[in-house]
């Protein structure tokens, strides 16, 4: 339009054309009698579904105006891994930008299309947003609603405006995928399945953390997860490891086999994939070659007190580490030839290689902890003698006896723990071509997947089958989803909902397992009490049977007189007080014999409690 435009002076009369408009209908709305409906994306007052809200506080953290404050609501009973904090909005500050909506991992916080509030009391401008689901009093149907009364306490129901959309969220719902050895390759050997994050991958994954710390509440040992994730993000695995060691001295082990209560609680997991906390811990542990120089931890001045730790499993290792740092002399006894306890013999090599265990154990030994391996209490050294010789004793013996189904001919079957142990640190087991594993838990998955590998190694080129049979159906199987998926990918067959009836033996050779259909696994009170449809039977062919239906503790090393003093809880766990002390004075306990979770990180949590208890007792406080 570069050509020169000529001025149009126009006529004085031309404006009179506008007179036409006198006869047109006015465009203005006669508000409020003619209401104007706000757009569907309108950014008005907040709505918050209190049932979905986890109290993570991300909305308060991102608010540019500090208009949101997290306030504890005592009436709310927080679900595990959640807080009973709820956001309180101050409409004197809110600018309705909606960043809080885009960061809300639960998607509970939304904006409505309401925008009226008139009140003489300024306090009414600060309020807890709720929605019609959780607040029926102030959200009204269209019959009761009147625009003349519209306020924060008189709002229209089902009036959602700007809502959260994962595609435009400020957090990344997708996890950086972990490189793995593919199922067809890994099932042929004991190669570690998880390859581990590279530095870049770990940094990218760590960058997803929103630092809401719900995970830290959920973690039994309360690791400072958000801090050590942040250190990884900042390219400082040494600092990360320091943070981990404050609460967990076995990161190389836990970084592989932790039951990750943190990831269940992770606020990203509500609508996306949880932060890979476990793999990041593993990354921190693996990227530091030498813990000692990185950690610079030194034991306190020697106290001269002697503590015996029975069992070098996760809880025994942890308490040895913590007590040594406090200056006590710790001796750890274990019947196995190396540290790790159950994690040394249980998790197969493809999940937890021996070197990963020894890395943690050797570091703890380097602090001055004395390990006496291949030493069985009650045989090589008597429990009474230890009780006399040491100032305090910690029992971290775990559940070492395998349970059996006690069906006909079951004595021909193998037990889970000896089977796993023999393959991990022993001479190995000869396996059949068609193996039946009884059980649906994580140990059963370990046994089945390990058995499959042995089959491929011992019968190369032949057709081999491993199948599991479990009382529980798919939805109630106690094994983690991850394990079940991995097992399926490797070709393990599942028979959920069947109970073993009899091991069929012909000519002193195992022919298979006769099974009956399960009616119910648990009774009305939720107790384990399986019932069967006796008429519905199935025969599973197989030449080898392994039972993996659970473990029990073995206290045979404690002399009878003392054992009588040891009290148990209703759940048949060793009873301990707030300091971790059992009913036998000076004897503390933790790990699988004490807690219900039966995992490493809870064992560490028990060890932390007992550390404080023992230290308090020994320092005379």
């Amino acid at each position: 339009m570069k050509e020169k435009t000529t001025d149009k002076k126009g006529s004085f009369l031309s404006p009179f054309k506008a007179v036409n408009y006198l006869f047109k209908k006015p465009r203005t709305l006669r508000y409020p009698f003619e209401p104007k409906e706000p757009a569907l994306r309108y950014r008005g007052f907040h709505l918050n579904d209190w049932e979905k809200c986890t109290g993570c506080g991300n909305c308060a953290d991102i608010c540019p105006n500090e208009a949101i404050k997290m306030v504890e609501i005592p009436e709310i009973e927080p679900k595990p891994g959640e807080k009973n904090d709820r956001p309180k909005l101050d409409y004197g500050r809110c600018c309705f930008c909606g960043l809080c909506v885009d960061i809300c991992p639960a998607g509970s916080l939304r904006l409505s299309r309401d925008y009226f509030h008139i009140h003489f009391d300024t306090d009414t401008f600060a309020f807890f947003p709720k929605d019609e689901k959780t607040d029926k009093e102030h959200f009204l149907g269209s019959e009761q609603y009147s625009i003349l009364k519209a306020s924060l306490a008189h709002r229209k129901e089902n009036y959602e405006g700007f809502t959260s959309d994962l595609e435009y969220s400020l957090f990344e719902p997708q996890r950086v995928s972990m490189p793995e050895v593919p199922p067809d390759e890994r099932k042929l050997s004991f190669i570690e399945q998880i390859i581990g994050y590279s530095k870049e991958e770990a940094k990218a994954e760590a960058s997803r953390c929103l630092e809401c710390k719900l995970c830290e509440e959920a973690c039994p040992a309360h690791l400072k997860i958000s801090d050590y994730i942040k250190a990884i993000y900042e390219d400082n695995p040494g600092e990360s490891l320091k943070k981990i060691f404050e609460d967990n001295p076995i990161p190389s082990i836990c970084g592989r086999i932790c039951m990750k209560h943190c990831e269940t609680a992770c606020s990203l997991s509500i609508r996306g994939e949880a932060l890979a906390v476990r793999w990041l811990k593993r990354f921190a542990a693996d990227s530091i070659k030498d813990y000692k120089t990185a950690l610079e931890l030194r034991a306190a001045e020697r106290t001269g007190k002697k503590i015996a730790v029975i069992g070098a499993g996760p809880s025994g290792l942890s308490i040895a580490h913590f007590l040594t740092l406090k200056g006590h002399n710790v001796v750890v006894f274990d019947s196995l030839p190396g540290g790790g306890g159950m994690v040394r013999v249980g998790p197969p090599l493809y999940r937890l290689p021996i070197e990963a265990i020894d890395k943690d154990v050797n570091y703890i030994a380097s602090l001055g902890v004395e390990f006496r391996f291949n030493t069985t209490i009650g045989k090589d050294i008597l429990f009474e003698d230890i009780l006399k010789e040491y100032d305090a004793i910690y029992l971290g013996v775990g559940t070492t006896a395998s349970r059996s189904t006690k069906v006909k001919n079951i004595d021909r079957a193998h037990l889970a723990l000896p089977f796993l142990q023999a393959n991990k640190i022993g001479s190995g087991t000869k396996v059949g071509k068609e193996i039946i594993v009884i059980g649906g838990g994580n140990v059963a998955m370990d046994v089945a997947r390990e058995a499959l590998r042995l089959q491929y190694m011992q019968h190369p080129g032949e057709k081999v089958i491993t199948k599991t049979v479990s009382l529980e159906d798919w939805d109630e199987m106690p094994a983690t989803k991850e394990e079940i998926e991995d097992a399926k990918a490797e070709g393990i067959q599942f028979n959920p909902g069947w109970g073993p009836k009899e091991v069929k033996v012909e000519d002193s050779r195992i022919k298979g397992l006769l099974c009956v259909k399960v009616k119910l696994v648990f009774d009305e009170q939720g107790r384990f009490s399986p019932t069967f449809y006796e008429e519905k039977q199935m025969f599973l062919e197989g030449d080898m049977i392994i039972e993996a239906i659970g473990q029990a503790p073995d206290f045979s090393f404690i002399p009878e007189k003392l054992f009588e003093k040891l009290q148990f809880t209703a759940q048949r766990k060793v009873k301990v007080d707030d300091n971790g002390m059992t009913t036998i004075p000076r004897v503390f306990a933790g790990g699988d014999i004490v807690n219900q979770n039966l995992d490493a990180v809870t064992a560490i949590a028990d060890a932390k409690i007992a550390t404080e208890g023992i230290h308090k007792m020994l320092s005379g406080r």
């Binding site: 020169k4 435009t5 126009g10 004085f12 994306r41 950014r43 991102i62 909606g98 960061i103 929103l210």
Partner: protein
Amino acid sequence: MNMNLSSKMSSSPRELELYFGPQHLGMVGNFSITLKVEGDRILEAQANPGYLHRGFEKLMEYRTWIQNFPMVCRINVVEPDSMEMVYAMAVEKLAQIEVPERAHFIRSIYLELARVASHLFGLWAYANMLGFDTVAQWAMYHRDLILDLFEELTGGRVYHIYIWPGGVRRDFPPGFKDKIVNTLHSIGGCVPDYDSTFFNNRLFYDRSKGIGQLTLEQAKQWGATGQTLRATGMPYDIRKIEPYAAYDKVDWDVPVREDGDAYSRVWVIRDEMIESVHMIFKLLDAMPEGPVYNRIPNPFKWKVPRGDVYVRCESSRGELGLYLVSDGGDKPYRVHFRTPSYPHGLIILEKLLENASIADVGNIMISLYVVAPEIDR
């Protein structure tokens, strides 16, 4: 109007000091001018900004990269959108964030809608100042129709908080393309009415022709951009010179006038609106499908690499620039905006008011399209 006889100050007993604004109907916002007048003639004018100083540039140093995004728009109340655009552009350049193709188109369409809305608001102010109340109300009504579009797209009518680093905040809602077309057609259908009642009106011509006249040389020297410069004959437009968003993807013209007076400036505004509407139609036709947002890093951990950047875009008032410095932290180290109203409202206004008549103060000021919050920041 506040009149103050300051006989001590003035050299001649006939001189008066006259405070124009900030509480004045003809004022463009919280802004004032001190006039030294003799009779009806202005001897000297001094612009007084500062009534709206909110310290945005400093505040932004205390907020994280994403927390600044809802704030930048507030610097210019009338057209917040180009503020969002420069901020997003600067951060994207520093942090090397790619923007999806469709987001570029949506940004351009959205910015052009904002330009039309802003020009209609300007037309309201100008017509209102001249006493053309009918035309002013039409312009306000048509602006509201565009605000309805914004409400539907972004959830906000005035502060849209829509263009963020990485793209735009949400894609078009279903049927939005048709709504834009229908709304623009209904506004475009009223152009003959606007022309006959206002632009081709003898009263408008007589009141604005030759008022606040600026030569090309003066305009260049005093830092004029936007309509003020284009009305002096220079086709200077950042959208052409340094195309951003999708401005280089379609054909369009830069409207220019030669005379440099209030009349030319208002005509440039009119022509620009029409050009913008044509451009929106072309952009809508050429707009590709696809994503509209590349996710930015986690806002709680986001650190923008060390560096500094100057970006500029063509706001409805002229060249809007942003100088942004990052020290590699989670917040900007320094932020500085170059806003078009700054030279227009402080330098050019003072110069043009010399020797003007008191009745033309509003005329000149509003034809320069000054927005006070842009000056103060």
